[in-house]
Amino acid sequence: MAGTADIRKEAAQNRAVGPWKEGWRSFKKSKISLAGAGIVIFFIVLAVFGPLIAPQGINEQDLTKRLLAPSSEHWFGTDDFGRDIFSRIIHGARISLWVGFFSVILSVVVGSLLGIIAGYYGKWIDTIISRVFDIMLAFPSILLAIAVVAVLGPSLQNALIAIAIINIPNFGRLIRSKVLSVKEEEYIVAAKAIGMRDIRILFSHILPNSMTPVIVQGTLAIATAIIEAAALGFLGLGAQAPAPEWGKMLADARIYLLNAPWTMIFPGLAIMLTVLGFNLMGDGLRDALDPKMKS
């Protein structure tokens, strides 16, 4: 028995690790992907070490320094509480990345589960799950997110859940189709023949084989999730004061568009740059890992 396990492991390595290495090589070659990865790493560093880097805290109000224009002291100016916008943007990186990563992880987990069940077991259960995905995809997604937040109450965490929910069908469908195509392959049929249990087949064969498109799709989904979180924040349905969430900062700055445009420009640029980073990286990953998959 030990022998078969080893062979299986080896086969898995050939299938899974081989393309990874190769992928990394071609990823390295693409300057654009590297730039994307660079931006992402930059913001991750901000998110992790933000409190050490930022000149000021999240909520250091000084009403005598309201709405100051950018200067050497306050690089991005100050907001209506006299808080340093530069510092708040640095602190905000943590929030945006947190929402981006975790909402996607949540939708990947739930979506994969549903996708596997649908793809592996087929029949009526597949019909039901696929129909539910159809329904969710036909929903205007931002309205669905708004309704979910209205039910749960506006907070960052609930915005994260709402965003995760609207992305579930994307991953569910992806995994389902992958499962369907892998299911019929010889080694799966063989594994079944030697009496391997469904669960083990799923976790040792099918899932690893579906990871590449999920990683690619996941990276791009983080980008979208960050924008969606900002949009909900902008509508007042996401992070609450005094959290320096970028979308919320934009919403608070709306009324100063005329007099203090810097309060609007910089948070918007921060969102754009982060999202751009993830998009570039996702593109690069796709070209490197899965050249066939182009959408």
Binding site: N59, Q61, L63, R66, D80, F81, V149, A150, G153, P154, S155, G236, L237, Q240, A241, P242, D252, R254, I255, Y256, L257, L258, N259
Partner: protein, 537 residues
């Protein structure tokens, strides 16, 4: 080869783009002149005067008897009229559709003499019979007429026992119990007189096709976009209205509305944020219009929840909050710090109360005395701007800091507006921001409505219930002697001050802005502005 082609393509693209831009530029010059005030007028040939009024939301319906929202009354106040009117900028009572009135000694009978020769927009005569039919409609409507139920029905008892026409122009109201603010109630927009011909034919029709006696007639309603009304040429007061047409445009977004005012898209912008004051004053083409204050913004402390079940903690919070700083920062000085639950313009205001001064040390001492354990509280921030609370989120942030300074940790929480009200109504909040704008300028409409035990579950969000206070309120409601009544309310304010269920924060002065060509715009404290005297230079 390829490179060359790309270059020529690029050049072509630039050429096309620049042509488009040039065309845009040309267009721009055209509109530039069109958008200027003078150009706008000349475009309407014949010197027709059109006023475009920008506001935050659309009306719900144009039948004042069935609605409760201010945006509906803003329009109906110019289409319909009431028997008696409020003063230009206060809540004193003046003749309206009734020339004069006479209350009986016991306050149970009111006899109104009506204006003669007034016609509804559909040609129906305005007379005593029309008034009777309107009142009977309100009485029969039950919960279809929410304002009538809240002002003229107590429990199941109708305050207006009967209305009878005596001759063509005399109407007699008989009350089942004296009601001190009876005339003030009648002056409220929901009690405007509509054409009986119209509502007898089709009651729902009034909502979309309003017919009153007012200075303006209804023309068109494009939902969520605009409502247009035009001059009533047969208006009974000669020389009015001055304007030929008024267009109410809904622009929900505050900044978008101000932008539109700056660029000439609208002539008047309502519901601006105090932070807009500076940019309005900086623009020579704009004037700032202040609406006299008749509101209160407050921080409610739910008295049934710990730690606010302890009066000392509530008093401590009152000492902890720097109201003056709030007013300076978020109201731009367009407010005065509050010490009572009702604004000073209302008769019965108790100026003798000193209020809780800002004193963090005293607050800390009171907290220690109360044995407060340092438990974190939830601080609820309003999700929508209201005249009494231009930015609930920001005020909450500042209060959070004030509370932290005296050792009360707090977490800011918010909900979508309808949820917020319901949850607060159920007593789920620890401390919450809220406010009130007076309906009829009567003390009862503030104190009893917001702080009596009767109103727990509706407008008394703090669950504050003081039986002695209740007795004072009941006595005041039926007291028709003005002085005695004011004394009772002063007494009530003292009791409320001692129990401190609220931190009264501010009485704000809401602002509007208008183009300088708009003259004679007078903003009314109730929020429904009559535009009959407004003119355009």
């Amino acid at each position: 080869m390829n490179k060359k082609k790309l270059w020529s393509l690029g050049v072509m693209l630039i050429l096309v783009l620049s042509t488009i831009l040039a065309a845009c530029g040309a267009d721009n010059k055209d509109t530039g002149s069109k958008d200027t005030p003078a150009g706008g007028d000349s475009a309407d040939s014949g010197g027709a005067k059109t006023l475009v009024y920008g506001r935050g939301g659309d009306s719900v319906a144009l039948d004042p008897a069935v609605v409760t929202d201010g945006e509906s009354f803003t329009v109906t106040a110019n289409i319909y009229e009431t028997l008696v009117n409020f003063g230009e900028q206060d809540v004193t009572i003046h003749p309206g559709l009734a020339k004069s009135w006479e209350p009986s000694e016991d306050g149970l009978t009111y006899t109104f003499q009506l204006q003669e020769g007034v016609k509804f927009h559909d040609g129906t005569d305005f007379n005593a019979e029309a008034v009777v039919k309107n009142v009977e409609r309100w009485k029969a409507g039950g919960d279809k007429h929410p304002y009538f139920s809240s002002q003229f029905v107590v429990g199941d008892k109708q305050i207006i026992d009967s209305v009878t026409a005596e001759g063509d122009y005399t109407v007699v109201f008989k009350l089942s119990q004296p009601q001190a603010p009876f005339l003030k109630n009648l002056a409220m927009s929901p009690f405007a007189i509509a054409s009986p011909t119209a509502f007898e034919a089709n009651e729902e029709g009034l909502s979309t096709d309003p017919i009153g006696t007012g200075p303006f007639k209804f023309v068109e309603w494009k939902r969520n976009e605009s409502i247009t009304i035009e001059k009533n040429p047969d208006y009974y007061i000669a020389g009015f209205p001055k304007l030929d047409k008024v267009i109410y445009r809904s622009i929900p977004d505050n900044s978008a509305r101000l932008n539109d005012l700056n660029t000439g898209g609208i002539d008047v912008a309502d519901g601006l944020s105090p932070s807009d004051k500076a940019s309005i004053e900086a623009n020579a083409d704009l004037q700032l219009i202040e609406r006299p204050s008749m509101n209160v913004g407050y921080l409610g402390l739910t008295v049934t929840r710990a730690p606010f079940d302890n009066v000392k903690v509530r008093q401590a919070v009152n000492h902890a909050i720097d109201k003056q700083a709030l007013v300076d920062a978020f109201y731009e000085g367009l407010a005065e710090p509050a010490k009572n639950p009702m604004p000073p313009v209302i008769s019965g205001y108790n100026d003798g109360i000193t209020g809780y001064e800002y004193d963090p040390e005293k607050a800390k001492a009171l907290l220690a005395e109360a044995g407060y354990d340092g438990k974190e509280i939830e601080l609820w921030a309003m999700p929508v701007p209201r005249p009494y609370m231009p930015d609930g989120q920001k005020v909450a942030e500042a209060i959070q800091k004030n509370l932290a300074d005296v050792g009360i940790p707090s977490k800011i929480v918010t909900f979508e507006w309808a949820t917020y009200l319901e949850k607060a109504q159920n007593g789920e909040a620890d401390a919450f921001l809220l406010g009130w704008t007076g309906d009829n300028g009567d003390a009862d409409n503030f104190l009893y409505t917001l702080l009596d035990g009767d109103n727990i579950g509706s407008n008394n969000y703090t669950f504050y219930d003081n039986p002695k206070l209740h007795e004072v309120f009941v006595a005041a409601q039926t007291e028709i002697d003005e002085d005695k009544r004011n004394e009772l309310y002063k007494q009530a304010q003292e009791m409320i001050f001692a129990d401190a269920p609220w931190v009264p924060l501010a009485h704000s002065t809401p602002i509007l802005a208008a183009n300088t060509k708009v003259t004679n715009y007078i903003a009314h404290p109730t929020g429904s502005d009559r535009l009959d005297a407004v003119d355009i230079k």
